[in-house]
Symmetry: C2
Subunit: 712 residues, 2 copies
């Protein structure tokens, strides 16, 4: 059931008792006429009022000169007047007791400072009157079931259906409504959000999800207003209704300069991918994917698993389908022997009764229906992909009519590849009327089936929540941060404290100022030791010869100390050298990198992958939002070679994967607990053989002002 609440202040947008259109026009070339026409033609059952200072009549209704003149009921206003007049109209709406207003006009924030001031004025008035605003710079909203069409979209409006569309772009709405009609699917609700001065995508999501006619929600997003809130709300919705999103502007957002591998590897879109994955939102990468998939989710039962049977009358498209199945994570079902026996009896000898089942070109409508029934009855089959090019001896329409009753009765999805154009028109109309998803080519059909299967697996899983660790020491970590400035790297000692407080083990290490001191510390720690330069501004120590490993006695330590300082001075005579860390040497293990970076919209991201100096070149890394769930940790380990090889590889013995998992959870919680931590990077995190744990051999952390841009 719905786990988020619908804000009651939004109800007038979705269940208005009466609507006033301010700026109604009798001129058919004006948008003010278009909205009036759509309101009347949409068969809306509430009151419809028109306001225009000129007075007169419009479509047999009076044009009231003022908002104050409008008789009750009226709880939603649609303002179709130029931007400068909007604040005064809002005041009049407020005085009239209207608490929901759609502002359609452009000319606000998107045009510059004057427009921004106008928006500020509008928001001020809205707060004064406890009023919610949609827009400005939007085309309105519609509901095909209420029904209500409060938009200036060109007619005809969408056919009633089960797919809702929430859009940051108004222009795309007209195309989507028109295209949906051509593709044979209807819409339930459509909301154009415009500049989102007040109501945003996250606000409307639960309201749209609560609509009983909506089975799938599609979103066209240019960003989100508050990343973490969006995720929480979406995660509650996606458990019971699928949400598909097309996020545009992947390359639009500039990136700030970053000093760590983790920051450099996190692309502008990494956080969206991580957030969508956590929230269970299915990300489409093209408009066609968005609606191909929505149609399948709206019309089809969910499969119990990934095993697909292919039924075709032609070998070529069958091969294409198998290629697509193999590369999309689905599986070709293995048919039970009795299914094959029964198929054999129903088909000519040359037909192939193994999956993909090829009935040959002469397949009749009855053979299509019989074989489909047999495949659906097979317990090893979770879904059927049926391929129907124009049959040489029969009509595609005849096949459609023969199989639709079987598809209707089935508890398993049957998706159809209906190939051609004119020869398949009748079949297409039958399938669409029966709500059977059909696509022109096997690849698109398989992609839709893969999404159905993925969503089915998602809802079958228990919701995973971030793991909360109770044995960490936030107060100790906080102490390590108090001496740091608002934007600065932590000292090695502070980094050690920080990580240790969150159970990430750091080898014993001490700062030496002289080679003699280094030798003494080394004796105290025990040989062999490593030396590591500490100098503000030098972030990649190994690049400047600032790392020496495996020093076996005091002489070696003293020589290496002197040598290191000399080399660094030679490269950068101004380097602010604070000293040299003398560090316990760690046994050999697998080297990985773990890190934290911070996204302005979604907050902290944890990175995991192949470490070393070439981490950016190899790019074998994955990201998840902090704090992490167990599912996130699985994702990080399975998506990377660094994670997969922890299980052992050829000469590499299995490494302590359990310790890596625990360390990732600790790091995620650390990042979530301290928003002021802008970057953390442990490279390498050395992973010892099974049962022997991990060591954060080299680590650094930075506090920064990124928190100022975060809302959570």
């Amino acid at each position: 059931m719905l786990m988020t609440t619908i804000d009651p202040s939004l109800l007038p947008f979705f269940q208005p008792q009466g609507i006033v259109l301010v700026g109604a026009s009798a001129d058919p070339t004006k948008l003010g006429f278009g909205v009036a026409r759509n309101l009347l033609q949409s068969d809306y059952k509430g009151a419809i009022h028109f306001v225009n200072p000129k007075g007169g009549m419009l479509l047999s209704r009076p044009l009231h000169p003022h908002i104050a003149d409008v008789p009750p009921p009226v709880d939603l206003a649609f303002l179709l007047i130029p931007a400068p007049f909007v604040p005064q109209a809002l005041v009049e709406c407020g005085q009239k007791g209207i608490r929901a207003v759609i502002i359609a006009a452009g000319g606000f924030r998107e045009t510059g400072e004057t427009g921004q001031s106008l928006e500020d004025a509008c928001l001020h008035i809205a707060h004064q009157y406890n009023m919610r605003l949609m827009g400005p710079n939007c085309i309105g909203l519609l509901d095909t079931h209420l029904p209500l069409d409060a938009t200036f979209l060109p007619p005809p409006g969408p056919t009633p259906g089960a797919v809702a569309f929430i859009s940051h772009s108004g222009a795309i709405c007209a195309a989507v409504v028109d295209w949906a009609r051509g593709q044979g699917f209807g819409l339930s609700r459509l909301v154009s959000l415009g500049n989102q001065l007040d109501v945003c995508e996250t606000d409307v999501l639960p309201a749209i999800a609560a609509d009983p006619y909506t089975r799938v929600i599609t979103m066209y997003l240019e960003g989100v207003t508050d990343g973490r809130r969006f995720m929480q709300v979406a995660q509650a919705v996606t458990r019971y209704k699928p949400v598909l999103a097309l996020k545009v502007g992947r390359f639009a957002s500039g990136r700030q300069a970053v000093a760590s591998h983790t920051g450099a590897l996190a692309g502008a879109d990494t956080a969206f991918d991580a957030a969508f994955r956590r929230a269970g939102i299915i990300r489409a990468h093209t408009n066609e994917e968005l609606f191909d998939w929505a149609r399948a989710l709206a019309w089809s039962p969910l499969p119990r698993g990934p095993r697909v049977a292919v039924l075709t009358n032609a070998g070529g498209p069958g091969v294409t389908a198998v290629d697509a199945i193999e590369s999309s994570g689905l599986q070709l079902a293995t048919l039970q022997p009795e299914t094959e026996t029964q198929l054999r009896a129903a088909l000519p000898p040359a037909a192939s009764v193994h999956n993909p089942v090829d009935m040959l070109a002469g397949a009749s409508p009855e053979q299509y229906a019989d074989c489909l029934r047999l495949l659906l009855a097979d317990e090893g089959v979770d879904s059927v992909l049926l391929i129907l090019p124009p049959p040489p001896m029969y009509s595609a329409g005849g096949v459609a009519k023969a199989i639709i009753p079987t598809i209707y009765a089935a508890q398993k999805p049957v998706l159809v590849t209906l190939m051609g154009e004119r020869l398949i028109q009748e079949a297409m109309e039958h399938f669409r009327a029966a709500r059977v998803p059909e696509y022109r080519f096997p690849e698109r059909t398989v992609a839709a089936l893969a999404i159905l299967t993925r969503y089915a697996a998602y809802v079958q899983q228990a919701t995973t929540f971030p793991v909360v660790l109770s044995d960490v020491q936030p107060e100790r970590a906080r102490q390590s941060l108090v001496q740091v400035g608002e934007e600065d790297w932590l000292s090695p000692t502070a980094v050690t404290e920080l990580l240790t407080a969150y159970n990430i083990p750091v080898p014993a290490s001490h700062l030496a100022q002289t080679s003699a001191e280094a030798a003494a510390l080394a004796r105290q720690i025990g040989f062999p030791v490593a030396l590591k330069l500490v100098a503000a501004g030098i972030t990649h120590k190994s690049d400047v010869g600032g790392v020496r490993l495996g020093l076996v006695d005091e002489t070696a330590v003293q020589t290496a100390f002197a040598d290191m300082l000399a080399r660094v001075r030679q490269i950068d005579s101004d380097a602010a050298i604070e000293g040299v860390l003398v560090q316990q040497m760690i046994p050999v293990g697998q080297e990985v990198i773990i890190g934290v970076t911070r996204d302005p919209q979604f907050g902290p991201l944890v990175m995991f992958g192949s470490g070393g100096v070439e981490v950016e070149g190899l790019a074998d890394v994955a990201f998840a939002l902090a704090p992490l769930t167990e599912a996130d940790v699985n994702y990080l380990l399975t998506q990377t070679w660094a994670g997969r090889k922890l299980a052992g590889f050829r000469h590499l013995p299995p490494a302590d994967e359990t310790a890596v998992r625990h360390t990732l959870l600790c790091l995620g919680q650390l990042a979530a607990d301290f928003p002021e931590l802008a970057e953390i990077e442990v490279n390498p995190l050395l992973v010892l053989p099974e049962g022997q744990g991990v060591w954060a051999v080299d680590a650094r952390a930075r506090v920064g002002n990124e928190i100022g841009r975060l809302r959570d």
Copy 2:
């Protein structure tokens, strides 16, 4: 100009003087009626004859009882009779002097041994009469311009057009013809190849390319008959006409067991990718891509470069287009100041005159036309992507009419994103009639534009031929192969000889049988040295402790020798140890892997990438066909992190990239010169700093029977 010759024996298929249909039927439900109807309705100008032993009349023409009865002219036969009757009919065709026959029936090789014998008999007869065969198991061929329709496709046939289609699958043809009509593009020729008993895809390619009406060739391939010949023919064609291919069955072909990284990393489709790249064939991955791209190539001029201007009346689709442009290797054009000034004068103040140019929702047909002209006139613009959702105030058809003359006159491509369905019908018809490529959504438009741009770049480049090195010593290499069995690994000495003969330097190394011998050899080579186990059947030496590096004196060598043998015996007491190589130690450098594997269809492939033991996990490798062109070498180095970092990376100094390039060319030539070499792998190839060359530190090579399956 066409650089391949058309086999004159194929001419009767494409320019027949007279056709006889054997198996013509008066029963409208039979395919034998369908072909007769299509032949007559296609308006074919040559003679049309029907044969059926029953005699009588069909569609006002006589049904001759025997092939011998057919009057001249007749030079092409279409056999639509059951498989068992085909050999006798072929004999009659041969006796009649017919030299080209299409065999439509199935029931041959695809059904088992009896069918295979029938095929053998047919081929024997064909050779006897110097006759060419198309099929069996095909639907025939058609030419919309000759015109000729010798298929049993359901009517109507395709509209005449500029796209040719060559297909291994007959079933897909009906769907493609029908779908093409719906997408508004016509076909020039269509050839269904079936089982390819005689005529194959490579044979027909030059004949189709020579057709003056064909501007683009599309292929639906399930494989190729002779990989190297296909490449040569295709490379000649693609220079002057684009060839697009959809290769299906990516996952169908089983892989033989392989013993090297190189073999394991070469997927079943790797060779196709390499071959298509070398031959200039554009590989589509879905049916829709195949024809989306074909339409753009058939209808549009080629751009001079990658700089795209976007013209839109809506922000959302503009952003989507920019995303797609950035991710497809195209560039957003930077408009010249005077262009922006003129755009500013033509548009309202709130419009954006920077690229992407957003005219806002109120844009009129005249504004669309004016802005398009300005963008096309800008020297910094190579192509224009025009976005047209249903305009709120005007009709999309009006915009289409206003801009088509400008698109027609332009020397630059203009591709249109025409969004919607019913509201854009008129515009769509105008664009299709004017041969302007239009697509529903920005992503597909950009993908087509990217292909136009890629093909334009391809034809502008000089043809690259494999580099032929004259300073290699094939005879010396041949000597190193004489002592090896038909399927065996080469001895270390033989490998050294082989590589040295092709200028790939191998460190000094000698085989020792005892630890004393190893110590003596080490002294002779000079310290430090490395020890490497030599044992038949142990291919990954480091996995079993069979590699020891940096041994600094005789004692170290002796200890390591004993230790190595003990460890190996412990792991595998039956290991056939031949001895231990004592090898010159090489200075530190970058480690890469180079290798050769052999594809059954395309022959030797050269691999390059990140080496070490984790090469399969990291999969940072690329492949090209041997012998290599300079373009192949560029590809290998730019596609891999191993190649990119040769230029230097952070602490890594620049490595000797020139030596790597030369070594790759040498390896490619070695692989091409000796087909019996089934696998070669050098891992690592150590690359020293600039000017200091490379060393094949560890290498192995195998001869094998793969050559038996090769035709070149």
